[in-house]
Symmetry: C2
Amino acid sequence: MLQSKLFTKTTKNLPEGETTKNAQFLIKGGFINKSSAGVYTMLPMGLKVLDKINKIIREEMNAIGGEEVLMPALVHKKYWEQSNRWDVDVIYKTSTGEKGKDFEYGLGWTHEEVITAIAKHFIQSYKDLPKAVYQIQTKFRAEPRAQAGLLRGREFMMKDLYSFHMDRADLDKYYQKAISAYNKIFKRLSLKTLVAEASGGAFTKEYTHEFQVLNPAGEDSVYYCDKCDFCQNQEIFNSSNHKDCAGEIKNSKAIEVGNVFKLGTKFSDAYGLYYTDKDGVKRPVIMGSYGIGPTRAMGAIVEVFNDEKGIIWPEAVSPFKVHLLALSDSGKVKSEADKVYKMLVGQIGETEVLYDERSASAGEKFNDADLLGIPLRLVVSEKTVSVKKVELRKRSEKSAKLISIADLKNLLK
Amino acid sequence: MLQSKLFTKTTKNLPEGETTKNAQFLIKGGFINKSSAGVYTMLPMGLKVLDKINKIIREEMNAIGGEEVLMPALVHKKYWEQSNRWDVDVIYKTSTGEKGKDFEYGLGWTHEEVITAIAKHFIQSYKDLPKAVYQIQTKFRAEPRAQAGLLRGREFMMKDLYSFHMDRADLDKYYQKAISAYNKIFKRLSLKTLVAEASGGAFTKEYTHEFQVLNPAGEDSVYYCDKCDFCQNQEIFNSSNHKDCAGEIKNSKAIEVGNVFKLGTKFSDAYGLYYTDKDGVKRPVIMGSYGIGPTRAMGAIVEVFNDEKGIIWPEAVSPFKVHLLALSDSGKVKSEADKVYKMLVGQIGETEVLYDERSASAGEKFNDADLLGIPLRLVVSEKTVSVKKVELRKRSEKSAKLISIADLKNLLK
């Protein structure tokens, strides 16, 4: 892709109230646009990052038998009333005006109600179990404060997986499978997560589990052991819970990028989701739910991978694999850079190469490249042309080196 | 995919008020679930169809230089006020309760406002033009009547492309390009469309153009010539517009699956989207917008391709390429069918084969296969096993034939 053709440009201007690194770098780089507090547009490069994150999530959800669905944003009042969640604080409701109650919706901030009602159509017998479905879609929460960029929005993307089981044992087994899938996902996203125990709230007396990225930008606080894998959300932490380990307990701010939750029969009871077992006995279906916030994960990645100049994208989610800079827009330098571009497009595809062929100063190009944070930067200049090489620098490293086109080809294989 | 593992099942039960074929077949087949009037969940097989439609649209939008973005559903009041569209009938508004005006949104039923405000950040000079961006996302309209299944929903998917130009001539050129892209898309979707002239409403004195599928389920009415490509929406039709052709004018109901629209400067003026030309003169950016309804297109496909037994998916959008039926769940028939399944998975991938290995009667399996409408049906039975072949029937044809595994392999290549 030619940088001069890109819809976006980098900018130095920031809208008011954007104090977090993720919002600042993503807006300056032209990855996202702030629409209003807590509401952002994903611009082309931002959407490319988000799509890559979602692709990774999708692959791992499919791998544990999840089937994808897309549920409504307009969730009718009748759904929320059945589970006593019509009057929660965070729900956006549509104002019906003169249109009457057929038009009363709460915008989907969670979809247990909808999926449980749907599951009733398809789960009647033990032969129909277990099942797992997931959604990757926009959700809404009327957050009073929304000032953390993609870390806490009023409109954001969520992946939610819902599982349906005959009994606790089967749920427990699947729950561990989901935790393994989550560990794989966050590893692929380069996010180091701790699995923190947290309260099950009204749903369950058991702990639920959160996937926490230790980071000062986080709004959660966790206590964790520096030797074993003990980790608890501040809300439930009690040092006496930490047994049989000589490790030291530490405290940190953390970003919650995922959670897994044993819903048990809360929604099956509310919606009458029962199945008939082998002996003909009617039993409630046992449910689990498993969330990941792809947009929040994107924000967390930026909070973790950056320096004073900009973002340092991990390769798996970078909008482009390679950023090619031509330090002149004419003559030998330009024609050599064009050749390198052509080679790169042939090698890794047009969608993976950003080619800065603009009429701009070298300084501007380097600054933009640092801000955009594409992992591999290639520079074609008078100097590199004279020695028949290109300059290669990893965004994560300080030093650059000269490399021949042949070696570059091998490197990208 | 094993049919016994599928989240959904076929059903004979229909919710109230579903009179259209698309709603009936899609619900009976388990492609969609009705959440409330005009609001549906895309179930796994329905989402597979929708994803295939969107992939085709995406490819053709990218081919004409479109860059994809994802805009908010929560569009703040301030955006609508600037273009005088806060008080339109079809907008869903959030009720703010005690939260105050920071929480006043209209749910995005169209996004000209948002994209124009965004474009201001990136378009300042003639060097920044032309540009084209598109979105494929959920939109919302408070439709008083919503009884046509996917043909007219309150929540539905839209692809909207927006283009930005220096002058009318450049817009006109791109407009023709978009029309060509649309023709390609509908051809790939197997939808035969007429390009109908329609009113530009408040935007333009020129005609706009609609892509209409002639079908009795449509809510539009078009007049078209049986010899030339004259076609007008009833709203503007006048027989005296039809000149220099001896063809006969016919009238038909039609489903509008797309439209292209010269916005001109309506939104650039409202939002102050100007650029500086080569001579340093400030001029308004000229805009175009181009819509396709992927969910409506899905409904239209079902309205066009069906018989009394169910859907007949065109191959390009079918949830699976092949439906394999084992007419017994044990013995030689089952083991042979398992072998064919393995071969098919190797040949076209697991996601493209639905394997009915359920313990169900042959009649039930045939009925389900007809309802689901997968283009290629393969049957393994006592009869086919005895002659070492499989039975192949196209969903669109009445007659079946016996084919050897070797020939089947070649057919799928």
